[in-house]
Amino acid sequence: MKLNFQVEGGNFAKAGVASSEVKKVLKKLGVPPMIIRRIVVALYEAEVNIVAHAQQGIISVDLHHDKVEIELRDKGPGIGDISQAMQEGFSTASEEVRAMGFGAGMGLPNIKKNADELNIESKVGEGTTVHITNYFAKP
């Protein structure tokens, strides 16, 4: 099963709509709650990142029988130094983002913590693509 969502940069009212839909689908499929939680926390942080930093983005969720593969592809400023961005506390977020309760430099570390596999590719001035893979059962 495939799910696709458009994400609009700067539209905080809608931040989380995609994550919420994915959570509902995972619940219906009977995925264990603890595993759903990890997936949607990682996805939500990544969705908020698109709203916070990019002009627009597309979230593609690919549901397999044993795992979920998520791709978040955005058109935005890109990340110059990914290893620096992964450090807890590092942030380039605006005041507006901070006012929403985010932008304290915990988003990417949170994503890493909750993703079984994480891959980030980015080009400055073009955008960022985040791949998150989580398995429904631990081998």
């Binding site: 926390v41 309760g101 985010f102 915990m106 949170n110």
Partner: protein
């Protein structure tokens, strides 16, 4: 601790989710930083916060948090109430500060997460 008792201690007002007032709450976490809230992985938790916007409710939805207590009489919008109802989240407000609210509930036996 029963949720109804929490409401009583903080002189709170229930905005939505009255049907859950008999539920037991074991842990408390106070934060205005949603990424911090998203690190919590525990059931029966009350989130105390001064951050009142739709992302607070979304964060609770993702982290499976069923109870939110807004401090300092923060304005709860219809959009927030709608989101909370959709996700079976109880919203409570109090006029007390985050410090006072946390202190009172800690003293009454609500357990810290970290």
């Amino acid at each position: 601790m029963e949720l109804a008792r929490i409401v009583e201690i903080v002189n709170g007002r229930v905005i939505c989710g009255e049907e859950k007032l008999r539920r037991t709450v074991k842990y408390g976490f106070s934060s205005d930083l949603m990424s911090d809230v998203l690190t919590i992985n525990i059931e029966n938790l009350l989130l105390m916060t001064g951050l009142a916007n739709p992302q607070t409710i979304r964060t609770a939805e993702m982290a499976d948090i069923e109870f939110i207590l807004f401090v300092r009489n923060k304005k709860i919008t219809m959009e927030m109430i709608k989101l909370a109802r959709e996700n079976d989240i109880v919203l409570i407000t109090t006029g007390y500060s985050l410090f006072r609210t946390s202190g009172l509930l800690f003293n009454a036996g609500l357990k810290p997460v970290y």
